[in-house]
């Protein structure tokens, strides 16, 4: 889409013109124009994979565009590194925070700061951080180590780090993805205060409500291209949704298959997290055949530990897990798999696939123990490859190149491959953690369709997701986890986003 370069408005803070950036032949940004004014909060809206992070990273000096121009304060600049961007007053809070976990807040702030002397001095830093913190609602203790802070606090440190460096153009990449609704509200307050002081803010999100709530203007990206830009006052959610997705959003009401017998029962399970504290406490969940139970919650409220306890990767301290009438509390992972447990892990590259192995081997990782894939100790390469070819076709896995490593596939195809491996084992129970996180729209729909078909075929599915839309689309019943405890358990027709948001923030509601 050829957008004409917008007129230079008064008070232009930054302008990107014709930015194109390809990764291995995939266009992450294609001829994107973007302009930013002083004193505004400018939302950058788009689905996962639309190219938002790429565009921001170009402005922040992290990525070098294949072509296109960057103008700051009216001057054309060439940003060779994030450091140079900082020197121009442009800084970014990345989706994955860039803080050294083992350092204190003060050390993180000092790092790379040009004005502190050779020796690390403490007092003036603490004073400045205190002032900035009070002014913008960003209070944190300078002496705390970053790993001890909550995600929300870490985000405050990230923003402080930029302010301390004197940054005047702040880019925040999906800052609310990890926050509770309440924390998001606080962040919006901070952003507004920063904009009122004349700074320019780019706020990346894929949530329409947030755009309407906080932004002055919005630019929409789709498939790497800019598809629209307007003041928020002239925008409405339906228009933005259509721009973002490229078609009307329809909520798929799936016809209910009546749930059958309980297949998976989690009874009063308590387990410790990696730091030795109780990560889940007295969790009660029951999943029936043909039922999808969605577990909602902000990341880090025990979801990972819950999945690990069910799949046998973590031992519970108390409680019982029953699958198909068998007590599997103490069973090994292999025993659970044999009883019919499938698992789609949250971190698909680290625990879902052996990235260095070819796809055929990854697809065989569960079935290799039986014929036809192996006879005794010997693997049949031919059978593995035949099976891989069948599954590729059945699950529409694309981009496979023979024996090349699986990690070269795109996220959506890797996820299809994991589902292919798990579903081809005909599980009775499937635990799916963040099944569509980070995928593009088409892949998300395909994966969700697979899950629905699987449930209709009789599988009991425990789906853990931070994506409320996904929870509401797929679940027959919704469970909200907060600080490791089940806050509430709602049938689909009683769950709505507002109620779930309250519960996810730890606020119980007496009357729904």
């Amino acid at each position: 889409m050829a957008e004409s370069v917008p007129e230079v408005p008064s008070g232009e803070a930054a302008r990107l013109a014709g930015i194109t950036k390809h990764f291995f032949g995939v266009a992450a940004n294609e001829d994107v124009d973007f302009d930013l004014r002083w004193g505004e909060i400018h939302a950058l809206l788009g689905e996962n994979g639309a190219g938002k992070s790429t565009l921001c990273s170009v402005l922040a000096g992290l990525y070098h565009p294949d072509s296109g121009e960057i103008h700051l304060d009216g001057d054309r600049v060439d940003l060779g590194s994030p450091h140079q961007a900082l020197d121009h007053g442009v800084g970014m809070v990345y989706q994955h925070f860039r803080l050294v976990d083992r350092f204190t807040v003060a050390e993180n702030l000092t790092l790379g700061h040009p004005e502190t002397g050779f020796f690390t001095s403490r007092r003036s830093l603490e004073r400045q951080v205190g002032e900035l913190g009070r002014r913008y609602g960003l209070e944190v203790s300078p002496q705390a180590a970053v790993w001890q802070l909550s995600v929300g606090e870490q985000q405050r440190v990230e923003i402080l780090k930029l302010l301390y460096r004197g940054v005047r153009i702040l880019i925040l990449d999906e800052p609310t993805a990890v926050l509770t609704p309440q924390e998001s509200q606080n962040l919006f307050g901070t952003l507004r205060a920063l904009a009122d002081d004349g700074r320019a803010i780019i706020f990346v999100t894929h949530k329409l409500d947030e755009v309407m709530a906080v932004a002055d203007r919005v630019t929409v990206l789709r498939d790497g291209r800019k598809v629209g830009a307007m003041p928020t006052s002239e925008a409405d959610p339906a228009t933005l949704a259509r721009l973002m997705v490229g078609r009307d959003l329809s909520v798929t009401e799936r016809p209910r298959t009546a749930p059958g017998e309980p297949v998976l029962s989690i009874k009063g399970v308590t387990a410790e997290g990696d730091r030795g504290l109780e990560a889940i406490r007295d969790v009660e969940i029951e999943v029936r055949a043909s039922q999808i139970v969605g577990v909602a919650g902000v990341a880090g409220n025990g979801q990972r530990e819950l999945a690990e306890v069910v799949t046998g990767l973590r031992r519970p301290k108390r409680g019982q897990i029953i699958m198909g009438g068998v007590d599997i509390t103490r069973s090994t992972t292999l025993e659970r798999i044999k009883l019919g447990l499938g698992f789609v892990p949250e971190d698909r590259m680290r625990t879902g696939m052996a990235g260095g192995l070819p796809l055929a081997a990854n697809l065989a990782l569960k079935a290799y123990r039986q014929p036809p894939l192996s006879k005794g100790p010997v693997l049949s390469k031919q059978a593995m490859e035949d099976r891989a070819r069948t599954l590729e076709k059945q699950f529409d896995i694309r981009g496979v190149r023979g024996a090349l490593p699986t990690s070269l596939l795109s996220g959506g195809n890797i996820q299809r491959a994991i589902l292919a491996r798990e579903l081809s084992a005909r599980p009775r129970v499937l635990v799916a953690a963040a099944p569509t996180r980070g995928l593009d729209v088409a892949a998300i729909q395909a994966i969700r369709q697979l899950l629905i078909e699987e449930a209709d075929a009789g599988t009991a599915i425990l789906m853990i997701s931070e994506d409320l839309e996904e929870i509401l689309d797929l679940s027959d019943e919704v469970i909200v986890l907060y600080e490791g405890q089940v806050m509430d358990r709602l049938p689909r027709d009683r769950a709505d986003p507002d109620l779930l948001g309250m519960l996810m923030a730890g606020r119980g509601v007496d009357a729904a």
Binding site: H83, Y94, L111, G112, T116
Partner: protein
Amino acid sequence: MNESVLLLSLASAVVIGTPILLAGLGEMMTEHSGVMNLGIEGMLLGGGVVGFWMSTQQASLPLAMAVGALVGALFALIHAYLAVTLRVNQIVSGLALVVTGTGFASFVGSLNDSSLIYARPVSKFEPVFGEAFRDLPVVGPLVLGHDWVVYMSWVLVAVAAFWLFRTRAGLALRAVGEDPATADTVGIPVGLTRYVYTMIGGAGAGMGGTYLMAGIFSTYQHGISAGLGWIAFALVIFAGWRPWRALVAAYVFGALRNLGFSLQILGVDIPPDVLNVFPFFLTIVALMVISARPAAARRFSAPSALTVPYARESR
């Protein structure tokens, strides 16, 4: 055990511990930048053999040490290029360096009908303090009886500790080793930092090797290092990546190397190979003790990005 035997073996533990300390301290700096260099043994032999050759040609031992350090650093440069620029697996590249350095030392040692093997240093490492000091009870032999390399190693320990934990440069270095992506976004040159500290590591190993050959043994033999480089590698882990702890640990390891001689004097016969295993055994015990306590594990564990290559646009 007779008191003077104990004192003497402690004093020589300090001497034997010194090349371990020099090489280990260097490796520690390298690892704080996120680069693991398994090639210490190779750099120690390669740098050491050239340093030793220098010491047989002219009288200046500081010059010989400097040349040994330089050659060690050049060997490390190979590792830096492979591991940082080409992002080759650091274990593979480090092991390749062991083979390269060892082979290089054998080659140099065999030149001219192995004349290097019969050569001796022109001058010796003399004690720094006069006899009056050295004859003082206990502190004489233990503290005041050494040559300048031992005192230099103490200064280096202090400098390293100060540098790492009290200066901005040290903070930047540790940031590169903990989280290179973060370091990059705040303007710390990740690649350059890794190159520099990898070469500093090589310099430490080269000095250690030179001191071993020109100082402790006053001779070169094939395989003279006998796994000292690997002990230096274990030292870094045993010391929890802290310089002052490395000082103590180096002398513990040195004492273990000595124990064989002492025990033989006392008539106990333990094969030296068994004693050589002890540093590694101790390191494993230390790891077990540390990992049992989460707070300690967090403080004394490896830099988070150790062996992880960094490229800005990859993810």
